[in-house]
Amino acid sequence: MAHLDRRRFLQLGALAAGSTVLTACGAGSTAAPAPVGPTGTAATGEITVWSWQGPAAMMKALVPDFTKEFPGIKVDVQDIGNPAIWDKITSGLAAGGQGLGDVLHIGVDYLPAYIEKFPGGLADLVPLGADKHKGKFAQGMWETVSRDGKVYALPWEANSAGFYYRADLFEKAGVDVEALRTWDEVIEAGIKLKEKTGVQLIGIDKPASVGDSAGFFQTLLQLQDSFYFDMQGNITLDTPQAITAMTIIKKLNDAGLVADTAGGWNAMISSIKKGAVAVQAMPTWFGGIIEETVPGEKGKWKVRLPPAVTPGGKVSATVNSTHLAVANTSKAKAAAFAFAEYVLTRPESQVKIYKEKGIAPALLAAYDDPVFHEESAFFSGQKKGEIFLDALKQPSYVTNYTADYSRALKAVTDAQSKVLLKGADPATVLKEAADLIAQQTGRTVLR
C-alpha cells in the first residue's frame, strides 16, 4: 500500500513543485510587472521551458537574443534530464496540468500517448498561428505533431537512420564499407573484421537493463516501412518484416558480432572509448556524441546511410524526432508559443544548435546554411550534413507510435533479450510479444 502512497505522493509532489515554480516566478517579477492574463500575449509573460541535457543547454544559449526581441517575456529554461522528464510530464498531466512547464520538449515516442491519454493537456497551437509553419518542415513531420486538425507541437529534430563506422578498422580488414548493400553483407564483413582485428561489429544492451534497447531493431523495421503498429493501430510485430529484422539481430549475435552494452548509455559510451565496437547504427544526432566522446579518433570515423534490409530495399528512414509543445494550463501560452517559434522556425537558431550539438533540424530552410555542406574533419572529410539531408528528403514512412508504445517497447525488448541471451527463435518470441501486447491493450494482431 505504500506504493499507492508513493504514487499519490509523486502527484502531490508535482503539485508542490509546480506551485514552487509559480511562486519563484512571482518573486522575480517585482522589477517589471508584466500583465499576465489567462491567455497571455506574445509580448509579455513569464515562461518555464522543460527540456533535457544538450537541447536545454542550447535553448538557454538562445534566451539572451530572444529576450532582446521580446523584452516582455522572461524565460527560464530547465534541464529536467532525460528520462526523468517523462515521469515529470506524466505526473503533471495526471494532475490536470498543474505544475507543468509552459514549453515542453517531447519525443515522438511519448507525444501520441500524451495527446490520447490526457486530452486537453497540451495546447492546440493552431489558434496561436502554428499553421503558417506547416510547409517548413521535413516530410511527415507535420503529421506526427497534428491530429484531427489540431497541432500539438512544433517539430524540432528529425533524425535519420545512420551507420557510423571505424573506417580504419574496416580498411585493416580489407572491407569496402561503402559497397555493402544489405545487412547480410554486413554480417559477412563483420565476421572478416572480427577475424582480422578482434573487434566486434555493434553493441546492444542485451538484457535491456535500462529499458530502451530496441533502437536498432526499430531502425531495421523502419527501413522496411514497418513498425510495431500500423496506421490503424493494429499490432504488426508478427509480420515477415519484423521477423526479418529480429533474424538479422540473431544472425549478428550468433556470429559473435554483438557486444553486450548492459548498463545502457554509459556502457555504450565506454564501448566507443575502448574501441570495442566498429559500427554505431545510430541516428543523425549521434555523430555529435561520437565527436565529443573520442575527439582523438578524428579522421578514423566515417558515416553512411544504413544498408538495406532486403536487396534493393530502402536505405533511408526518419527514425525519430522531438518536438516543442505548450501546456494547456500555461498562463502565457502566446509567450510560450513565441519562444518555441523562435527556437524552431528561425534557421539561425537551428544552425546554432546544429553547430554546437549536432542536433539535426526538421526545419528545411536551416539546411541552406553552409554548415550542413561543409566537409567534416572528424568524419574523414565527408559532407556529413548532406548525407543525412538526402535521407531526410526521401519519401518517409510516418511511424504510428500510438499511446501504447511504451507497453509494446517493453514486450519487444524482452523478446530481443530472449533472442540475444538464450538464442530464442525470432518468430516465436515476436508472436508471444504480439499476443502479450494484444492482451494488455485490446488491440488486434495483424497476421
Binding site: 500500500m1 505504500a2 506504493h3 499507492l4 502512497d5 508513493r6 504514487r7 499519490r8 505522493f9 509523486l10 502531490l12 515521469d87 506524466t90 505526473s91 498531466l93 495526471a94 490536470g96 500517448a113 500524451y114 490520447e116 491519454k117 490526457f118 486530452p119 486537453g120 493537456g121 542485451k206 538484457p207 535491456a208 537493463s209 535500462v210 529499458g211 553486450d260 548492459a262 548498463g263 499511446a403 501504447d404 511504451s406 507497453r407 517493453k410 525488448t413 524482452d414 533479450s417 530472449k418 541471451l421 502479450l436 492482451q439 494488455q440
Partner: protein, 307 residues
C-alpha cells in the same frame, strides 16, 4: 504517543480539580492534540487509499475514465506478467528473507558478545547501508557487479572463477538482487534483534548455566525463544517490504532480463507511470494489499504470542 498525552492530560486535570467537577474542554484537549496528526493521516493516507480503490474500478486511459466494475481485477488474473511478478516476489520472499533474518540473528549475537572489540564501529558498519540513498546504492551495485570491469568479478577472477554475468542472466540477476537486498537490510534487522537481546533477563542465562547448558543449548533454549516477538516483527516487516519491493529492481535491473526480476511493486509503477493505466495499477495495489494482509495474518497465527 496519543495515549501518553491523554493519560497525562487527565491525570493533571484530576489532580487539581475535585473529582466530580469537570472543567469544560478538558475532555476535548487530547482530541485537539491528536487532531493535526489525524488530519494529516486523513489527507495523505486515507484519501489516497480510498481514491485508489475507486480508481481500481475504472478503466483509465490517462485522464479518460470509464467505469469498469471488476474488469481490472479479472484482467489481473489473466495477465501473465502479473503472475510472473508475483512468482518473482514469492521467490525472494521464500529464499532471501529467511536467509537475511538468520544472518541478522547471528550478527546480533555477535554484536552483543563481550568478545567483540570495536563493537560500536562494527554495528555502525552493518547499519550504515540502511541509510544509503537509493541512487548511490544502485550505482554502487551496478559498478561492483559490472561483468567486465566490476570489483566482484575481478575478485572472482583472482580465484580463477570465470566472470559471472550478474545482471545479464535471468538466474544471476535474481541472485544479484538478493545480495543487494541482504546488504541493505540485514544490519537494520540485526539492530532490532540486538535491542531485544539486551532486554533479555540475565538470570535465564545464569539458570541455564547452572543447569549445565552449553553455548548452543543456551542459544537454542533461551535466546531464540526470547527473540520470538522480534522475529515476528522483523518477519512481518520484511514480508511487507519484500512484497512492495521496488527500488532495487528499478535501479539495478529494470525488472530484466526478460522480466526475471520484475516485482509487483515495479509492475505497479510501470502500469501507472509508464503506461498511464492508473486503474489497473490501483487494482495491482489492492491485490498486493490483500496478499500482504493474508500473509500477515498467517504469520501472526503461527508466531504470535500464544499467552
Amino acid at each position: 504517543m496519543s495515549t501518553v498525552v491523554s493519560e497525562r492530560a487527565t491525570a493533571g486535570a484530576s489532580a487539581k480539580t475535585p473529582r466530580r467537577v469537570r472543567r469544560p474542554g478538558t475532555k476535548a484537549a487530547p482530541y485537539l492534540f491528536v487532531l493535526p496528526a489525524l488530519a494529516l493521516f486523513a489527507v495523505f493516507k486515507l484519501y489516497p487509499i480510498a481514491w485508489s480503490f475507486w480508481l481500481s474500478l475504472f478503466r483509465t486511459d490517462g485522464a479518460l475514465q470509464s467505469f469498469a466494475g471488476t474488469a481490472n481485477y479479472e484482467r489481473l488474473l489473466r495477465d501473465p506478467l502479473f503472475w510472473t511478478a508475483l512468482r518473482n516476489t514469492g521467490v525472494i520472499l521464500v529464499v532471501q528473507v529467511p536467509l537475511m533474518l538468520a544472518i541478522a540473528i547471528g550478527l546480533a549475537v555477535a554484536f552483543g558478545s563481550a568478545l567483540l572489540r570495536f563493537r560500536a564501529f562494527i554495528r555502525l558498519g552493518f547499519f550504515l547501508p540502511m541509510v544509503t540513498g537509493l541512487v548511490a546504492y544502485g550505482v554502487l551495485f551496478a559498478v561492483l557487479l559490472n561483468p567486465q570491469s566490476g570489483l566482484v568479478n575481478w575478485f572472482l577472477g583472482l580465484a580463477g572463477i570465470p566472470a559471472v554475468p550478474w545482471l545479464a542472466d535471468t538466474l544471476w540477476a535474481r541472485i544479484a538482487l538478493g545480495l543487494a537486498l541482504t546488504w541493505h537490510y540485514t544490519g537494520y534487522n540485526a539492530v532490532i534483534f540486538l535491542s531485544r537481546l539486551q532486554a533479555l533477563p540475565r538470570d535465564h542465562y545464569d539458570a541455564a548455566a547452572v543447569d549445565g547448558a552449553n553455548a548452543w543449548k543456551r542459544f537454542r533454549h533461551v535466546t531464540l525463544p526470547g527473540l520470538r516477538p522480534v522475529v515476528l516483527l522483523t518477519l512481518v516487516m520484511s514480508t511487507i517490504g519484500t512484497l512492495q519491493l521496488f527500488d532495487e529492481p528499478y535501479v539495478l535491473t529494470n525488472g530484466g532480463p526478460d522480466n526475471s526480476t520484475l516485482t509487483l511493486g515495479l509492475y505497479l509503477y510501470n502500469n501507472g507511470f509508464k503506461f498511464f493505466d492508473f486503474g489497473y495499477a490501483s487494482a495491482i495495489a489492492y491485490a498486493l494489499a490483500v496478499i500482504i494482509g493474508f500473509l500477515g495474518i498467517v504469520q501472526f497465527r503461527f508466531l504470535g504470542d500464544k499467552s
